[in-house]
Symmetry: C4
């Protein structure tokens, strides 16, 4: 497989960024500037040398978020009359971004301290990250086992602290002389953070410490195992729903029987491609075909490029034996593609042989059409000469 | 998908807490107060200023646990004549919570030290966490590979300590001059805790340290992998059994053939909802339907709300094409619902087409009934006017 | 579900230990004593006060391992004429445990240093851990992606060290003045060990440090993901093979068709139970049935207990609707049982209805037999009176 | 199962190294030497004592990479006229390895500093690691949830820093007096690195620190869960494609129906074996059979060894009941084998009974042939005597 050119790579990697859209990107930039200014204003040197500029910057960001919040609240109010925007989660985020700083200033808190409330702006990130709901669901669905792991964590924490307090309090009254100090050691050790500000010195303390660390790893492993299991299930579910909506837009899939549709929906992957981006490059080795759920692409074949719109498919030759791409395919507008992998295609056609036949027939039809167009071109060329 | 209101979110998140029940929540509060008092009493300042209050608090908690333990022991003794409650795991937990502190005080141990045995109260958490048995099973079933990882851990530990002892004992007699000290370094490093109280200084020591850290990550990864695998299997198993018991309470499922029941049981998720909680909100986008395994809900349709009891289902329109919810659905009593996701429903109906037909018929029947009720309302309105 | 008695719990948890067998347990004890003595002899105080005893202890352990190695080498030589035991992995482990210490002493190395070679005894653990081969296979099968993660780790390591060296060498010539020191910082940070002996002090250094830590977590996550995936596959494979061998010993399974056998083999779990251990306790809630692959159990029913040998099954009522156990079942000899869970049984019978019929018929036959035995007892009692 | 001899083990473990090929191994050695020299030259002592040698070594490595890059650029230019090698990812890696050091030296940067650019040589590792593309795909496909976890990380980071800054700035103006310092603490804690250079001292600070650590573990667990899920999917996909290409080279598989081929392709594992390596050893217990996708092996049976080429299979007796290997099998040339496990074979034959029949027939044919050859040998021996 030939390596991608650096250019494609850049396009590919900045794709997700561009897909965020201008407004979303703008908000992220304002957020980054605001948080940087908030961080800088707490440094006395910066405050002296550039305090005015930083204040101006912070007030501008605050104004931006205030306007943004107002616009959104109004548009929500129009669409959905019967509830207050301020009682929804994004409404609270918007309010927390705007309200606390002025109130703190009015209450007479010193500006650098008051601006610390600007750290609440970071909550705006929840808006740009569509995966948050997914993470939240994993936590809710796996609440029981996660609570058990937390309980296990607390049990080890308390028993280890009490034991260490008994073992080391005479030798190190500062570090282990009280239970709160001992608990701090236990939590630092059990999470394998290990600051090293409190370290056992006796042999028994070392053995107990070793047991706590190993328990920490075990607890951690359970925690990870639970989240991995939950996330895999949630991911599969979400993927199916999103893909199903797109599958219904591709006429080709409607010709299949329901069990084939359900099976193929599990296999397809979504890809959002910005406009004017190469999806397929001539001469590369291909291992998947593409369905256009939404958008338009241009296949750069001679004599004239062919445009394919929503519901079409391309790149099917890669699945039918000929795996070197024969033409560039470029998106015209931002498009949503469904990718069917070679691996999945072969598993699928093993059970549903009609699928291969339909794709094969369409591939041949296109080839002959292309051939005829080329002959016509030659004839017209011959005629014009 | 519209975001949930903050209120629903709060209801949703406090749900599990409320489900714990008043008695369980009460026990958790007593536990928290007791452990806090136990922690506070070890701090000399607190002991001087509030020693009497803390003692009173601790004695009260002890009394609470003593009474609780006695009540439970008696109720168990009645139900199950032929064995002693004190020989069961919860019996031991109850005894450990009550007995050690008085004995320690009688033996003449100073009160703050004697009250350290109150840290055993944390074991009460095992009672409120139903997932403990599940975690225990994972450890038992995966005992062999986990023992192998532990053996690997010990092998690296001993070989690394011996090597580091040889490399650094002349330069740092305090930190690496003896094998116990060297073992302490190895365990702190291999678990990636890294206190920093013992750090190699030679170049060879650094290289060995780097190898130990990387081995630590590998060991950790294996450990996590084993627990993740085991937990996924155990979780799937437990889920099936619990859901199966609920499925038998829904008449609708009994009309399906056995293979469809087994398949659907793997797909359903349980949700316990407290009373007076909104399950469905009008105007939201829905991606699942609900079966009532136990409890009662109220569908807020005009002219009069409809009540649905155990064995009914609702929210089925979301799966049949119309995915905006048309009415609020609120629980009347604490209810156990079974959720069928859109993704799973579609996979299911691909194999068992009768399922969609039954749900569709029921949906239509309800709609026409609703329609008729509305017409009747209009007529009666017309008649009364 | 009633909690298990503490006694059963102890039996259950010490089961794996007992299963190790006396010889294996003995070896572990000798190993523990030897390693403790080796550790102690490096401490000057211990050496002075108990040097003779420690030496005696170490020489005894060495003698034990020498005899053990000799016995094993001879038995292997008999069974397998055509290769030398010393060239096999266990042969090398046995040789490493015995040879290096005497050689070191002969070469004139001081005893406490020479005995450090006794840390090689820890390699004996590879013999008692049957899961080692499994872990090794995971590493071999996943060698390519693991190597890629290691390469990624090295790339981040070198680039971060070079950058940090440039950023901090003027401020902290000791910690970051040379590339080796900088590399040491990078490896300590990237593995999230964090000793804290070398910490960046500049703002840019902090930002670079933060990036390295986050990269460390990502690398770690990939590493864990690869091992989890590999381990799950390997575990499934090994389980199937071991269970298949046992399935062939149970006549009941031979009546099923091949596809059911393959399916059931994936579902069964093995459990090795020592003699005289309760497998089922009367009055408990059961969620699985048992097949006896090897061994013998006693069902404690009235009037006389029934013995079941290899190839029988018991506990089937739990799967047929009646889930409270009606009799104690205790092993007579160490037995290997195959467990079929309720969840798997239901999935299975959905596809293979004959399975439920056979088990049901056998259950009824036993009940009526039991009934007849009881009637006979009553009659004989009536006759004798 | 008998343990492998140490020799086989060594062969087995060095196999992947040998498979890298001489050129690739050579490049790795040059890389290691170059990076070591680069590291050494930054140490003042080394520079004084061996500066000339280190310089010579570095220049040689640079020359090697320059030549290598030039050769590769030319060969790529020939094969692929229409794009510049320098714009591809490997082209950039090659350029970065050669160009920066001379430019830095020309710009007047001191040699030890200029040679720091040699750390870019480590990027050459991306070339020898075929799994890099796979890791990259996982990151791209899981971009959304990973971004959400990163956002979660940032949210906790900012809120915790601001809170800790408020709590501890008066007590520790150095460590928590400014937001940048506080952020540094938060990132060190949230990644569980825990340098210990900044540690909270107040009780509230300890509680906040504990919460941050536990959040750190949760974030980490989510991160690992996402990568594990993504990696499992990607791994399955890649494996299928690579195996499919090899399956098409084995005539035996072509006799199966398409659904059996798809199923078997999911089950086969690839193994690349160097020449003259034992694949099967007589007397061992076997649990898999082998198909030769590419290469040649020699079965060491009496009277004369049998050679099997691409498309043949061997070791099938292990799957047909007789699981002790009856002959050594050694590769003649570097070979690519496909392994079919006992577990998978049994699952497969349960659905596709013709598979077992074909393999059984072939096995019997071979045995009888072998038998006849032995008889012929005896006859000829009898004749010659």
């Amino acid at each position: 497989m030939k390596p991608p050119t650096a250019l494609t790579t850049v396009v590919y990697y900045t794709g997700p960024l561009r897909r965020l859209g201008a407004s979303s990107l703008g908000r992220l930039v304002v957020l980054a500037i605001g948080l940087t200014a908030m961080t800088a204003i707490t440094v006395p040197d910066m405050q002296k040398s550039a305090g005015v500029w930083l204040s101006a910057c912070l007030w501008s960001c605050l104004a931006f978020f205030a306007v943004e919040g107002y616009v959104r609240a109004r548009s929500v109010a129009r669409a959905d009359r019967d509830r207050s925007y301020l009682l929804t989660a994004p409404g609270i985020v918007d309010a927390l971004a705007v309200v606390p700083v002025p109130i703190a200033l009015i209450c007479g808190i010193a500006p650098p301290t008051a601006w610390l409330f600007a750290s609440l702006w970071i909550l705006k990130l929840t808006r740009s990250s569509p995966g948050f709901a997914q993470l939240g669901r994993v936590f809710i669905l796996e609440a029981k086992p996660l609570a058990s792991v937390l309980a296990l964590f607390l049990i080890i924490l308390f028993l280890a602290s009490a034991a260490m307090h008994v073992l080391e309090r005479d030798l190190q009254p500062g570090a282990f002389g009280t239970m709160p100090a001992s608990l701090w050691w236990a939590v630092v050790t059990l999470t394998t953070t290990g600051y090293g500000d409190e370290v056992p010195h006796t042999h028994l303390g070392h053995i107990l410490g070793a047991v706590v660390m190993i328990c920490g790893i075990a607890t951690f492993g359970l925690w990870t195992g639970i989240l991995a299991t939950g996330f895999a299930a949630e991911s599969r579910r979400r993927n199916f729903i999103q893909t199903w909506d797109l599958v219904s837009k591709v006429p080709f899939f409607q010709t299949l029987d329901p069990s084939a549709i359900a099976e193929i929906t599990h296999m397809l992957r979504r890809l959002e491609v910005p406009a004017h981006t190469a999806v397929i490059r001539r001469g590369r080795v291909g291992d998947c075909m593409y369905f256009i759920a939404d958008g338009e692409v241009q296949v750069e074949v001679k004599p004239a490029p062919v445009r394919l719109g929503s519901g079409s498919f391309f790149g099917e030759l890669a699945l039918l034996g000929d795996n070197v791409r024969t033409a560039n395919v470029v998106t015209i507008v931002p498009s949503t593609l469904l990718i069917l992998d070679l691996a999945d295609f072969r598993t699928l056609t093993a059970h549903h042989s009609e699928l291969a036949r339909i794709i094969d027939a369409e591939g041949k039809r296109r080839m002959s059409e292309n051939q005829r167009a080329r002959e016509l071109l030659l004839e017209s060329g011959a005629a014009s000469s």
